[in-house]
Amino acid sequence: MYVDPEIIRLLAFLVGVIAFAALNAAYLVWLERKEAAHIQRRIGPKEVGPFGLLQPLVDGIKLMTKQLIVPAGVDPVLFKIAPILVMVPAIMSFVTIPFSDTLVARNLDIGLLAIFAFASVNVLGLLLGAWGSRNKYAVISAARVVSQNVAYEIPMLVTVVTLVMISGTMNLSKIVGLQLGGFWNWNIFNLSASPLMPIAFLIFFVCMLAETNRAPFDMAEAESELVAGAFTEYSGMGFGVFFMGEYANIVIGASVATILFLGGWDCPFGLFPGVHWFLIKMYFLIFTVIWIRWTYPRTTFYGLLNLSWKILIPISFVNLILTSAMLKVF
């Protein structure tokens, strides 16, 4: 029987991507707990396995063996579908991400657009889950998610448009290809295209925090205000899948930031580019995301709206205009 090698390749990538997403979700929880513990001068998980490394496994088993409670009065269809709607787009986004020049499942020409399209579906999943829960805390949280969505996506997309203008392509592999050859070629230091590039990276990073609902922008699940926000009624694996989706989104956000600004798989000194550099940069960004969460208190959503409309959007537009002017002149 003849099987197209392309299909086998895609199947292998599918399994790989799902395994990567799941493993990351599990071990980022471990990383988060360990990092939080050390920031707070504790030890963190240490009982299960060496350095508590088997803790995610045990947590997973616990979550999976728990009963899936569907509270009376919820919309059962939306309630059950919402976690999947958060998880699936996150996994889909991995398909277009180039981990190195050869390690990419589908080298789409509109890869960047696809990722942002999937990211919007993720917000929809949260909204549906909260609405389907028929819980007042969850509904308030859903309203916050929507206002947050409007606030952060504009500066983020304007920044991305700036980068697309510089690169002239939406193909993620080609965007990285243009930055190869040392850290001075990376977009974050591409001062000849626009002197505001480091600030553009900061804007993108802040928007990424907001997009993944991470502190200090975790208003959607502000535990001291809304109990658990959109996840209030979820338990067991329903909650677990939401949680995995959240971590998968952090990985996506860090990956996109790495690709757009930090030169993807490029080595800073022009030596031995490869997937390891991609992972080092990505995990460094994730480490920073966790670091921020355990350092800062939460903002309010009008704080985020003010930040977005008064600071991030004007600066990102200035950057856009400046970049287009520079491109025209030089």
């Binding site: 939080a36 707070q40 208003m219 205000e225 350092t295 208190p297």
Partner: protein, 372 residues
Amino acid sequence: MSAFAESEAKETFVLNLGPQHPATHGVLRVKLTMDGEYIAEAEPVLGYIHRMHEKMGENRTWAQFMPNTGRMDYLHALAYNHGYVSVVERAAGIEVPERAEYLRVITAELNRVSSHLLWFGAFILDLGGFSPLLYAFDDREHILDLLESVTGSRLTYCYFRFGGVYNDIDDNFVPGTRAFIKRLRERMPMYHNLVTKNIILMKRLQEVGPISAEMCRKYGATGPVCRGSGINFDVRKHEPYSIYPEFDFDVPVYEQCDSMARYMVRMDEIEQSLRIIEQALDKLPEGPVMAEKVPKILKPAKGDYYHAVETARGSFGVRVVSDGTNTPYRLKLRSPTFSNLSLFGEACQGMLLPDALALMGSLDLVIPEIDR
């Protein structure tokens, strides 16, 4: 869907905050009428941990009520001890040895610092910052160790007795306390750098949650709440008791009336308490810690007595009416947080939910003390 807006004319809904909500720190329930995320009306519902302390006091001897005092405000139990023993000593005419008074002040002020440290951590936790809580608990642990060595317990102290204190300090207490003061003074700048000067925290607290001096007078708010509204009132200064007049300390007062002012009052009070402890340790006299002629069965003269002390949350007053028997005829407890909470309903009208919860955190509520 029936849980949501009933009619189109008035699109509000009732949000039941508590009694098991993470932000209410205990079993406080607040019935919020919400217009979107704005609070139209807030009604605190009390009584979930009511234990009839006043009635219990009328059913047992004067001394038997002592342990109850530590169980009202479990975070500043020694001030409650102090209030109750003072009023009974006033009623029975008991003279307290000087060393005992010094020990009372030292331990009560240490307890105040531990209460403020716990509040600091819990308040930042309300604002979504988790890490300061564990740093504050680390410092508080040292106080608990010190107080454990003197009083024998770590939380619900019952250390004071009519006519003195239960136990003299050991040799390690004075150097241990001095070491702690040095340590905390080194840590406070870190807290201010990491937390107070944090831009997010400043945005969340400054000009948010206004409580005017007028409102404080109307509801009888005391303690850091009224001092954050520009009212210079501290029972230790203005109705001096025990040996507080002998010490040189300031009453921090802020005029801004916002949540930040109340935050700053408490942070400054930690330093002022440390100053009091330091002076008391310097002057600590030798002598007995218990008055000699305290009758085994106490029967204070007939009369009506009142004594107020300054706790970490405000003015705590005890009124006892004695009919000359071995049990109080009437025992009335005036707890500060009850008054401080009562202004919440008016203060938070029209506020956003996160800001209202920041305001509630800045009131420093201890629920068992509200319900008693």
